[in-house]
């Protein structure tokens, strides 16, 4: 079963959400039921492939054990960099193995949502090291990792935030409002993903039959809009389903096509991903490089940080030339944007004026759409396949 896609999924979802609404309406403990529904949907999504099942269970066991053990070690030994590094590497090792499986004779950790699951496990390890997480409940961790609305492609929640929602007693009126909002988001998301995105998909198909360079431009736009409606639609549905369970998963998109510069774009597009990278990679890289004075000044530090950050994001998408290029492309754009906004007198003088913002927006959109063309793997645009 493909979650948020198959008819059978939606049929089963509407049945399994009924007891959740009853529990929520009566202000009863929802935690066990949430775990139960997650296990049902995760199992259906995984299917019957024994290898997949074994790796999935192995992964969940490994990560849960890792955070539990590291919590104990951290409590006893304090902030020790080397121990932390070992646990952090172990927590992302399955993802690394799955990404390089293509180059290996065996398939390792080819499980659903591994890319997204890794964010969730790694951030727990990092926050334990920071001393932000002190108590680790195995039950809450399992609930967090297995939470079915977000298992395949996010949005990437934070364990402490999720835990608060999970263990909070929600007043009846507030819960009913959440259900209303959830229903709206499920419907809107379905419309985005099933109806609007497929229009743009058809447009892409038509355009690949043409050779002209105009078709390449059109293709980039159609692909960008297809990606948005497909992914934002999925995210809305995931958030909607979560609301029925009393979990307020963070938003993933906030009108990205209104961005006036590339930095703003990453604050509006795939937000939970870029904010994860900001909090757990970019800022930490910047802190390290400032501490050891790797670069001459703050601006250079920032530029190097952006490029490294986005390149890692490219690697995370997959080890193909176009994903790596996509990451580098956005890293360089962010760096150029930073230099422009910090150095340019013209920018400082005119940034608040309407005409500047309109031009800046128009330029940003072209850059974003060109980025999608790289991401699609169809650049240079080749026209129809031979």
């Amino acid at each position: 079963m493909t979650l948020f896609s198959d008819f059978s999924f939606f049929a089963l979802l509407s049945v399994l959400l009924v007891p959740a609404v009853v529990l929520g309406y009566r202000e009863k403990d929802r935690r066990y039921y949430i775990l139960f529904v997650s296990v049902v949907f995760d199992a259906l999504a995984i299917g019957r492939d024994p290898l997949h099942i074994v790796f999935f269970l192995g992964y969940i066991f490994l990560e849960t054990a890792l955070v539990k053990v590291y919590g104990k070690v951290r409590e006893r030994r304090g902030r020790e960099g080397k121990i932390y590094a070992v646990f952090l590497i172990l927590s992302i090792l399955p993802l690394i193995l799955s990404k390089i499986s293509g180059f290996l004779p065996v398939r390792l950790f080819q499980i659903i949502g591994i890319s997204y699951l890794t964010f969730k496990s790694a951030q727990i390890v990092i926050e334990i090291y920071d001393g932000v997480i002190k108590e680790i409940s195995i039950f809450d961790t399992l609930n967090f990792l297995l939470f079915f609305p977000c298992i395949v492609s996010g949005p990437i929640d934070r364990s402490r935030r999720f835990g608060e929602d999970l263990n909070r007693k929600i007043p009846k009126d507030e819960y009913l409002e959440m259900v209303g909002e959830g229903l709206w988001k499920l419907c809107l998301g379905l419309m985005y993903k099933a109806v609007i995105s497929s229009y743009f998909y058809e447009g892409m198909e038509l355009l690949t039959e043409s050779y002209s360079s105009f078709a390449g431009v059109g293709y980039a736009y159609a692909y960008g809009l297809y990606m948005f409606f497909d992914f934002a639609g999925y995210s809305l549905m995931a958030i909607g389903a979560g609301l029925f369970l009393g979990i307020r998963t963070p938003d993933n998109f906030n009108r990205p096509f209104l961005s006036r510069d590339i930095k703003e774009f990453w604050d509006r597009w795939h937000i939970t991903l870029s904010h994860w990278f900001r909090d757990f990679l970019f800022t930490r890289l910047v802190m390290q490089s400032m501490r050891h004075k790797w670069f001459k000044n703050r601006l250079r530090t920032a530029c190097a940080g952006f490029i490294a950050d986005m390149f890692v994001m490219g690697i995370w998408h997959g080890l193909t030339p176009y994903y790596l290029m996509y990451g580098l492309y956005h890293g360089v754009l962010l760096a150029l944007n930073e230099v422009w906004q910090k150095k340019s007198k013209f920018y400082k003088k005119h940034k608040k004026e309407k005409w500047y913002q309109v031009i800046s927006w128009a330029v940003t959109m072209q850059l974003v759409m060109f980025g999608f063309l790289i991401f699609s793997g169809n650049f240079p645009f080749a026209g129809p396949e031979q």
Binding site: D130, D279, F280, R298, T301
Partner: protein
């Protein structure tokens, strides 16, 4: 402690106004950005020995010099 913190903040923001006006909005005025926050956390750890987790604070916890001082002082005790 308070003076040390403000002195450090002035270096990071490259502006002495932060030691004079303790309720100035650091983000609104362009005195602090995400890079400045990174530097603030790093220097707080290295110079004052106070560790603040990056993800335990929100922008609203550190948007004025006053709030930064009280956050670091609170953390130093615990």
């Amino acid at each position: 402690m308070k003076e040390k913190i403000l002195e450090m903040l002035a270096e990071i923001c490259e502006d002495d106004v932060v030691t004079e006006d303790l309720s100035i909005d650091l983000f609104e005025e362009g005195l602090l950005d995400s890079l400045g926050v990174a530097q603030l956390l790093m220097e707080t750890e290295d110079r004052l020995g106070v560790v603040i987790g990056l993800t335990e604070i929100e922008r609203s916890d550190i948007d004025t010099p006053e709030k930064i001082v009280s956050l670091i002082e609170r953390k130093a005790v615990s």
